[in-house]
Symmetry: C2
Subunit: 99 residues, 2 copies
């Protein structure tokens, strides 16, 4: 989708990687929004740049999406996956609560 064809593999040049990230990130966020509107879907998108910056989009609010996701993952009933999810939810809860 541009002057030249590219292969999907990590872009070595740090500067180009940043530029491409900026462009594609915007495109991805836009598409996520369009999908949610056009198809009445609930979407949650989280992106961390290689430098650690956070970008996000959620059709409703991320809390609701994560909440629903967690529940959906629990339902399949596999005792295995269920406990795994509960373990890490609990783990998050037990993180330091200091302001």
């Amino acid at each position: 989708m541009g002057r030249g064809k590219i292969v999907i593999r990590r872009i070595d040049n740090s500067t180009s990687r940043q530029v491409t990230f900026s462009k594609r990130r915007n495109g991805l966020l836009k598409k996520a929004k369009e999908l949610s509107i056009l198809c009445d879907a609930e979407v949650g998108l989280v992106v961390f740049s290689s430098t650690g910056r956070l970008y996000e989009f959620s059709s409703t609010n991320m809390k609701a999406v994560i909440d629903r996701y967690t529940n959906a993952k629990e339902e399949p009933g596999a005792a295995n996956s269920t406990s795994e999810i509960k373990v890490w939810q609990r783990k998050i809860y037990l993180l330091p609560m200091t302001p």
Copy 2:
């Protein structure tokens, strides 16, 4: 991107909405993957169709992404946002633990 131009608003026809969802969902998941590879970014994408089916993509694993997301939201330190996150995380934790 197609035979005709469209406006971004909910597609009324249920059948077309489903077809469009199927196509765009695939495109979105593909783009999410490309972004993560090309730019070495951590990506988490969750999509619920209007019929409730779940589709997802995560460059590492959703648990790690949500975990990192939660932490990133806590750090900004705004006492306000911090407590809000803790509130709903706690809420999730308090959900019924019955298998």
